[in-house]
């Protein structure tokens, strides 16, 4: 029940990834990815407080998934 649940749901999410394969996106094709609402964490001001509140009311482990990646690909 535990891990299998996660795997099944992950696979549904990942199916998009596998289907699209390794589409090469050129550096100049990332206009949409650069938009702030496409950031992994679109509302960072909300995240910390929400994480704190959920964490104090629920027993789940938490990991921060907003560690970067995606975005405009700029240097």
């Amino acid at each position: 029940m535990k891990v299998t649940h996660f795997i099944v749901i992950s696979i549904i999410l990942f199916s998009g990834a596998t289907l699209s394969g390794c589409a090469q996106i050129a550096p100049w094709e990332r206009g949409n990815l650069a938009k702030s609402h496409m950031a992994l964490d679109p509302n960072p001001l909300q995240s910390s407080i929400r994480g704190h509140i959920y964490g104090s009311r629920e027993a789940a482990a938490s990991i921060n998934s907003a560690g970067g990646g995606g975005g405009c690909g700029c240097f």
């Binding site: 998009g16 609402h37 970067g68 690909g73």
Partner: protein
């Protein structure tokens, strides 16, 4: 039948229980410091690794945020409780700065203050745990009831179902379980974080750390994290590790103490001045690994795995387990007779090790036709406590025109119960019974020498272990009692409903408005409902703990880079201008940090965002007028004719955070809004020569101090330029202060006595609408600057909702300063303050224990000197930032009545205008 039964979950058939009177004793509220419940007990700030700022570079920015968390009432069934549900006020400030190109620094500061009623244990409803609080007699302080409800008796049938007596006579099974609530005085937590990072073109590392401080819980942490980009940044690998060390030192509730069995923690409890302090240490190690992959021009996926290993004291020191002990002799399966269970409270016992693994994945898709972003998030976590949890979340981020963005969001969460969670336990043994030796004889002991055993023969004569008869009249013999066998209880148990199986559904919306000036406003609301029945697969079986809450917040974010680039754009054709242009002629705007309303913006359309921190401390001698007062004079004259003083404060600290937003619609008019957030703490001592305590009346002693905090009053003001020639300026301020701060904060009930309203100085605002007129003159010449201000506060109402009115204030100050360099200035200020006494008086119960509780002991005349420095960043990317500090040192106090001496005050301000 030796194993404890998980009551409340037991299946039962309704039979016809016989009637018997179950006299269940009642209780008061409990708990001194409950802070660990909301903040640190379950979530450790250090475990949330700081994000390695991603491929999208973070801008230099400053933000302020206010949050309100408000819980709904818990379901107590038939009991009408006047306890207020938990409410938390959170103030949060943060900043991100680029030190040099690739070196980034960020910090954040959070202060939360919370109060309200929280569950301490769970019990069968028939145990009447939540007794409505009886009102005190007109004389005030009398104790009501004696035994707390955590120690009570519960009637059970032979299948161990709780029985309820019904008015018509007889008993019915009542399987309902209920949370037992207790209220708390306000508690404050402070947390500070920092992070330093370095960025390469395709990698980043960060090191961070911080601490979280509460009265009873301290935590400090450090972490490192990093990111590696591959494949032209289409793929990013992220990793992090952190360590947190925490320390609990919880003052166990003196009300509850006599009724709580804490033998399991005997060697962790320290006794100090009548209090028992439970200490425990805890360590947490955490590591995570993540991968972000761009899938297409409008989609990306992010996966993370995180592992946390925790060891040490993970209990909530304020949670107890209700264990119903039943005498095995009274069990008679098949019969109709009922059993009387002996319900006792034991400090909860959680395992000392916890390993948690969390897996998360997030998918982000751009919805081109409407330029929206869909964020889908799923997380699964499991641990060796048996808590498997699933979180699903969907956000739709929709940009609208004119800089608006709206984000509706929905979240579903479900968790399994921890292996050791039980609402309450039933143990098939007596809590305490008379000792019987191996040969079946009852054991007696001498109270004065408990190691020597005695026995009784058939003639009621006592003899010792060697068979020699003894004279019982010379000894103080009692039957020896033995406590329950802890080995017959489970090794771990907790009735904390956050470890039960449940589900929750929440939804909300975030509204965001970006102004061209680089200022962003954000507001959000979220409603959350916990329901046992929402658990995945059903069978939550903890519906008695269902509750809901909402969170609302408002935030302002100032993006300095946007401002700088706008400045560049405006000066775009003035190419030689390297430093974003002159902002302020220095000196002209220097006023000491302690002066409010001293600065005006010059240019129409100009906006200023600022932050002001003020700290003041009272400690040292008690004063009467301008001289030191003896304890005896305070006892006899500090309070009233009928009540002598028993206590006085030894120290009082007040901290204020103020946000300062100022806008200049025209050259001669500025508008300001200044919300305030307060927190204060006070310590008390007994006065020498105080009247002895009245038997049966307990007094709150302030042991360990007490704190209050939250939103203070909000100031709205206008500044009007009256006169200006080069080097001289005169402006007037007309402001009002709106009573947004509470003046009805109460201490929790202790020893079954109402705590009553907090002292006047510990309330968060004035409670009245106040008028704030002021007049400021400022002059400059070359490197010198000087000025003077007259400042007043006039209360515009007769009394506030608690029946009193703070005194009016008049203050005059004058200062002179010198610009030491192009960025630094120093000043000296002289201050005279008159403050009237408090008028009116509390219209509700206040304990009246010392001079601070009497209106006549407030106000006076004060003389101070202030030493200040002002610093401003003249050029470069941080130009436009101004900092000021001032220490105000008291020179002379002439107080009304009896008051604690002032030690001084610190003001610190930051402002940024653009």
């Amino acid at each position: 039948m030796n194993a404890p039964h998980s009551a409340g979950l037991a299946q039962h058939s309704v039979d016809n229980p016989e009637s018997r009177d179950s006299k269940v004793s009642l209780t008061s509220s409990r708990k001194t410091t409950l802070q660990a419940l909301t903040s640190a007990a379950l979530v450790l700030p250090g475990l949330l690794l700081s994000p390695a700022q991603g491929a999208s570079p973070s801008n230099d920015s400053v933000s302020f945020q206010y949050n309100r968390y408000q819980e709904g009432k818990r379901n107590l069934y038939n009991v009408h409780s006047n306890l207020k549900p938990i409410m938390v006020d959170v103030v949060h400030g943060s900043g991100n700065f680029t030190f040099y190109d690739r070196v980034k620094f960020s910090f954040s500061y959070t202060q939360d203050t919370w109060s309200g009623a929280t569950p301490v244990t769970t019990a069968p409803l028939v145990a009447n745990g939540n007794r409505p609080i009886l009102q005190d007699s007109p004389q005030g302080v009398i104790t009501v009831g004696a035994s707390p409800l955590v120690q009570t008796q519960v009637l059970l049938d032979q299948n161990l179902n709780p029985l309820r007596l019904i008015p018509e006579g007889g008993k019915v099974i009542d399987p309902r379980t209920v949370l037992i609530l207790s209220s708390a005085s306000p508690e404050t937590r402070n947390q500070a974080n920092f992070r330093l990072g370095y960025e390469w073109n395709e990698a980043a590392v960060n090191a961070g750390g911080g601490f979280s401080l509460e009265n009873d819980y301290k935590s400090s942490y450090g972490n490192i994290s990093g990111r590696l980009d591959f494949n032209q940044k289409l793929t990013s690998l992220k990793f992090g590790a952190g360590y947190t060390s925490s320390e609990t030192s919880a003052i166990l509730d003196p009300d509850l103490l006599p009724y709580v069995t804490r033998t399991a923690y005997a060697n962790q409890i320290e006794r100090r001045s009548g209090s028992e302090i439970l200490r425990g240490d805890r360590q947490d190690w955490t590591a995570n690994l993540g991968l972000t992959q761009v899938l297409g021009k409008g989609s990306l996926i992010d996966t993370n795995i995180g592992y946390t290993h925790s060891s040490g004291f993970m209990e909530n020191p304020y949670k107890v387990m209700t264990v119903i002990f039943i005498n095995p002799d009274t069990l008679n399966p098949g019969s109709n007779s009922s059993i009387t269970g002996d319900a006792r409270a034991l400090l909860e016992q959680r395992p000392n090790i916890r390993n948690q693994l969390a897996l998360s994945s997030k998918y982000v898709q751009h919805i081109s036709p409407v330029d929206a972003a869909l964020h889908l998030n799923y997380q699964f976590s499991f641990d060796d406590w048996g808590v498997n949890a699933h979180t699903f979340e969907a956000d739709w981020v929709q940009p609208l025109s004119h800089g608006w963005t709206i984000t509706p969001r929905i979240r579903y969460y479900s968790q399994d119960s921890a292996d050791f969670y039980q609402p309450y336990l039933i143990s098939n043994q007596a809590f305490r019974k008379t000792a019987i030796d191996a040969s079946g004889r009852q054991v007696w002991v001498d109270v004065n020498d408990p190691n020597q055993q005695f026995f009784r023969n058939g003639n009621d004569n006592f003899f010792d272990a060697n068979g020699n008869l003894v004279d019982a009249t010379e000894l103080n013999l009692r039957p020896q009692l033995v406590s329950f066998d802890a080995a017959k209880l489970p090794q771990n148990f907790s009735s904390d409903h956050r470890l039960s199986g449940f589900g929750s559904l929440s939804g909300g919306v975030v509204l965001n408005k970006r102004f061209t000036k680089g200022v962003e406003l954000e507001a959000a609301f979220e409603y959350y409902a916990r329901a046992s029945s929402l658990k995945l697969g059903g069978n939550g079986q903890s519906s008695f703990a269902d509750f809901d809450f909402y969170v609302a917040n408002a935030a302002i974010k100032v993006d300095m880079e946007a401002i700088n680039s706008r400045m560049n754009k405006e000066t775009g054709h003035n190419h030689a201008n390297h430093d974003h242009g002159p902002r302020h002629a220095h000196g002209a705007h220097s006023v000491p940090a302690g002066i409010m309303f001293g600065h005006m913006l010059d240019n129409p359309g100009e906006l200023m965002v600022g932050y002001r921190f003020m700290y003041s401390r009272q400690a040292g001698d008690m004063l009467r007028g301008a001289h030191q007062a003896s304890d005896l004079s305070i006892v006899n004259e500090g309070c009233s004719d009928i009540t002598l003083c028993r206590f006085t404060h030894t120290e009082m600290n007040m901290k204020m955070h103020m946000l300062d937003i100022m806008y200049a619609p025209t050259r001669w008019l500025n508008l300001m809004i200044m919300p305030q957030f307060m927190d204060m703490d006070m310590n008390l001592r007994q006065l020498e020569g105080r009247p002895p305590p009245v038997p049966g009346v307990h007094e709150h002693t302030g042991t360990g101090g007490h704190t209050t905090g939250g939103v203070g009053d909000t100031i709205l003001s206008s500044l009007i330029k009256l006169y200006e020639i080069p080097g001289h300026r005169l402006h007037a301020g007309l402001g009002i202060s709106a009573p947004t701060g509470k003046v009805d904060l109460k201490m929790r009930r202790m020893f079954q006595v109402d705590g009553g309203l907090f002292h006047f100085d510990m309330q968060l605002g004035s409670g009245t609408w106040d008028f704030l007129p002021n007049l400021t003159y400022a002059g400059t010449s070359d490197r010198w600057y000087w000025g003077a201000q007259l400042y007043g506060v006039k209360r515009m109402e007769r009394s506030n909702e608690s029946g009193y009115r703070l005194g009016d204030i008049f203050q005059a100050s004058t200062w002179g300063g010198y610009q030491l360099s192009n960025w630094l200035a120093a000043s000296v200020r002289g201050i005279y303050t008159f403050r009237d006494r408090i008028h009116g008086d509390f219209n509700e119960f206040n304990a009246r224990i010392g001079p601070m509780d009497f209106p006549a002991n407030h106000g006076g005349q004060y003389w101070d000197i202030g030493i200040g420095v002002n610093a401003s960043v003249p050029s470069g990317k941080f130009s436009g930032n101004h900092f000021a500090f001032e220490w105000v040192q008291p020179l002379r106090d002439d107080v009304n009545g009896f008051q604690l001496e002032r030690e001084g005050a610190l003001s610190a301000t930051w402002h940024y205008s653009f």
